[in-house]
Amino acid sequence: MNAAPDKNKLIAGATGPWEIVIGMEVHAQVLSQSKLFSGAATAFGAAPNAQVSFVDAAMPGMLPVINKFCVEQAVRTGLGLKAKINLESIFDRKNYFYPDLPAGYQISQYKNPIVGEGEVTIDLKDGESIRVGIERLHLEQDAGKSLHDQHPDHSFVDLNRAGVALMEIVTKPDMRSSEEAAAFVRKLRAIVRYLGTCDGNMEEGSMRADVNVSVRKPGGPLGTRCEIKNVNSMRFIVQAVEFEARRQVEILEAGGEIRQETRLFDSRAGETRSMRSKEEAHDYRYFPDPDLLPLVLDQAWVNDIAASLPELPDAKKARFMELGLSAYDASVLVAEKETADYFEAMLAAGSEAKSAANWLNNEYFGRLNKAGLSITDGPVSAEANSAILAMVADNSISGKIAKDLLDIIWSEGGDPKAVVEARGLRQVTDTGAIEAAVDAVIAANPAKVEEVKSKPKLAGWFVGQVMKQTGGKANPQAVNAVLKVRLGLPDDA
């Protein structure tokens, strides 16, 4: 998809530059009240085995019944990935033994997934946009959890997760750097969060990435890939890709061969380690699950879901740019749904787009970052920020007072307008009062008045004095204008 290799993304080896080729398999937990094939709850953090139905525990004679809402969520996600929705898909059994897999098989979709090819556009820091192809999305059950650290002689099993719906989203090998890989996951996460189909919480494991990495000489044939399992943060994705690519380059340059294998990322050591080779891979004995009929969707139902899709990051970004925002500002605002929502709440409260964006980027986000707060946890509402900007726009307060006011609202709360009134922060625009203050400063400083006639730049000193006298509330433009007249300065001074 990306024609000529970008020199900046190549890694240098002893034998020349190498290109990294990355594909991903992302497991995203479907946001739903109950599991894919049972009515058991899915909430995170419940006591072990508190959310397990007879179906989840694979009791004899129990049968799976598809959760329609999970199907709807998968379709919604597919549509959000601009992907083909397959009106007929099939659930297969993937057979293997493990204590946290109660039935001895996972119900998944093998040959006929619910969603086919699509694409995601990722925005890189330098303003470049790259399209990453989506190969497929399928629905499958999560497994339970084996706990090996609870007892010296026994392993424990928690089946709360067993049967929870996952979407496995597989990309084409379209990424060429660790930065692109991380940007892809960030963008995918934004999309599913906008859609409300996955909460994107990587710490709780709601989103996990398996990263396929290979290296090749630029433009050469694809190399043998290694799959790095369960990389669960953007930072780890970058580290894992970087480490793995260099490991492979070293092997190849030493005359070795890459073995196709599954590797684990050790986040403490920052390295990948071999888990199992292709030869040791399970034979999963996939076959269509006879307990489930083929999943047949109605095109009209899919259309209804399509019609109900929310505005997604790319569309929102384009709309924000039409409102006068730079590409950079727009992408910052749309990266997280909550940020975009906050910005839009300011627009709804009457703020002008460009000044709201500047205000958020220059003032509010900095304060949030410093305090380690997310936009939803921040203490100042969009309406309050909008009210502050409105007072700047109508000259009720100066830009400087606006920042002070934000600090006050941040720490003490309250209605910005009321605070301005109560604390007398309103900007003085009354010419009479400003003239009086100017006259007082001129009268008190005859020497400076002489000086300014030969050095017009000294006018700034007078502005400062007037502002001081008015407690910062005087409108600076009005002060300038009065000073110019009183001191007899030229207009361009």
Partner: protein, 494 residues
């Protein structure tokens, strides 16, 4: 009052409803008969206390005028059905201590209709077998014996406990399940009636799975009318089984006597087996004549892919079984081997100790045919054969309304006669597996005796969800055959 165990299900229903006998009296008579018939080994678990409690509750409902369709009628339940609070073994050691905390949909339907549970019947382990010899709980004996012989015969399988219990009149009727013939073959060799309904007619929820795409529950009874009555209460759509079908359950009993006049009965030429006993062919011939005499038109039909059915079945069924039985791992329920130190060892030992030889054989076959590199050659081809067999029937049903075949290639055989020869054992299902592969309804009805006095049955196959026609044809055969023979009660202490 005459012996209440002589009642058919229909007669007992009418007697209880007409207050000629209480459910408790009826139930006590069957409990006594069940306990007297222990030499048959038809039950894995007897539940007399529960039966009496249910009977009492039935009598109370009858007194209040709230009788259900099967009110107060004692039934035997194949041990493949999970019954809440009552051990459900599936004939296996691995489920020897398994007491389900839930009730299967089919049995729940029966209790909702007022039926009484006498106990759980013995069966081939996980329903894998045609003789009841693979049960961990020892073989069931057929109440029938050949003329002038005391040799123990098998009651068929896998629903052999149910067939023996019905034939020996130690229950009014029983439930069975049929994956390749497990209702029809034991019914045929015990002189009883059994119907495997259309796939999807009865819910599979709560029935221990053998081969999910083939398994169906059905009734095993003494008469066709009883089968019609029991099926009507067992069948239902079930939101818990995605493969159950949402079609109204007709009143099967109502149309039973409407006769076969004008019906076209297909005779498939491929069901004439080389080397089959001439008695089988003769009985089949006779069956066709009976129907013709009652006004049916006999038409020759062809089911050309019949010869591939048995091999295809022995790929599809073990494949599904190998996966369905993976859950018996000793981790959450059932048998767990002692003294193991790591997980693979726990699996291997628990499963080796828990499963019998036939189950292990089928798990191995199933695992093999699903393996990478073999899947296309075996599983996919078997599925193609399955489609062809279904198409054979579709085309045949363009020319006829029901199909008549022998039910089995022969009568009950001696215990041990085929245990060492799985292929010859598998051949018992040669006439029945096609019906499972096509998902159609099939009925076995007793039609005569062999020269040495053992029962033989005929099979009626119908269109999907046309159990009504199948039962009607079965009833016509029953009338013509006038099968009144019954086994000597040798199992009772003199």
């Amino acid at each position: 009052m005459s012996d209440p165990t002589e009642f058919t299900l229909a007669e007992a229903r009418d007697a209880v409803r007409g207050k000629k006998i209480s459910s408790v009296e009826l139930t006590q008579a069957f409990i006594a008969a069940m306990q007297a018939a222990r030499p048959l080994n038809a039950f894995v678990t007897e539940t007399p206390d529960r039966a009496l409690a249910m009977a009492k509750a039935s009598d109370a409902r009858i007194a209040k005028g709230e009788a259900g369709k099967l009110e107060g009628l004692p039934l035997a339940i194949k041990d493949l059905f999970c019954t809440k609070g009552v051990r459900s073994t599936a004939g296996s050691n691995i489920l020897g201590n398994f007491i389900p905390p839930y009730e299967s949909t089919v049995t729940q339907n029966l209790w909702d209709a007022g039926a009484v549970m006498l106990g759980k019947t013995n069966m081939d382990e996980f329903a894998m077998g045609s003789s009841n010899e693979t049960s961990y709980y020892k073989p069931v004996l057929n109440p029938w014996r050949a003329k002038d012989s005391n040799a123990a015969l098998v009651p068929g399988g896998s629903s052999g406990g149910s067939s023996a219990a019905v034939a020996s009149r130690i229950c009014l009727a029983a439930t069975g399940t049929d994956t390749g013939g497990s209702i029809r073959q034991p019914a045929a060799v015990t002189g009883t009636v059994g119907i495997k309904p259309t796939y999807g007619r009865c819910s599979r929820w709560g029935i221990v799975a053998f081969a999910s795409s083939l398994d169906q529950a059905g009734p095993m009874t003494r008469t066709v009318r009883d089968a019609a009555i029991l099926l009507g209460s067992m069948a239902s759509v079930d939101p818990k089984d995605s493969t159950s079908v949402d079609l109204p359950v007709p009143d099967y009993e109502a149309g039973l006597e409407s006769g076969v006049k004008g019906l076209r009965i297909g005779i498939p030429k491929e069901y004439r087996l080389d080397g089959a006993p001439p008695e089988i062919d003769a009985l089949w011939q006779k069956g066709a004549e009976w129907l013709k005499a009652q006004g049916a038109e006999i038409v020759e039909i062809s089911l050309p892919h019949t010869k591939y059915a048995l091999p295809a079945y022995y790929i599809v069924a073990p494949a599904e079984a190998s996966s369905n039985l993976a859950r018996y791992d000793g981790v959450r329920f059932g048998h767990r081997a002692k003294g193991t130190h790591e997980i693979a060892e726990l699996y291997e030992k628990s499963r080796a100790e828990g499963f019998g030889a036939e189950v292990r054989r089928r798990i191995l076959i199933g695992t093999y045919v699903l393996s990478a590199g073999y899947y296309d050659a075996y599983y996919i081809r078997a599925q193609k054969v399955r489609s062809l067999i279904a198409r054979d029937f579709e085309q045949a049903f363009a020319k006829c309304d029901a199909i008549l075949t022998p039910a089995t290639p022969g009568p009950a055989f001696p215990v041990g006669a085929k245990s060492d020869d799985p292929i010859s054992m598998y051949l018992n299902d040669v006439f029945t597996v096609t019906v499972n592969l096509a998902g159609l309804p099939g009925l076995a009805v007793p039609a005569g005796l062999t020269a040495n006095g053992l029962p033989l049955g005929l099979q009626v196959i119908g269109k999907a969800f046309d159990e009504a026609t199948v039962l009607k044809v079965g009833r016509s055969i029953e009338v013509a055959a006038n099968f009144t023979s019954r086994p000597e009660t040798w199992w009772r202490a003199p």
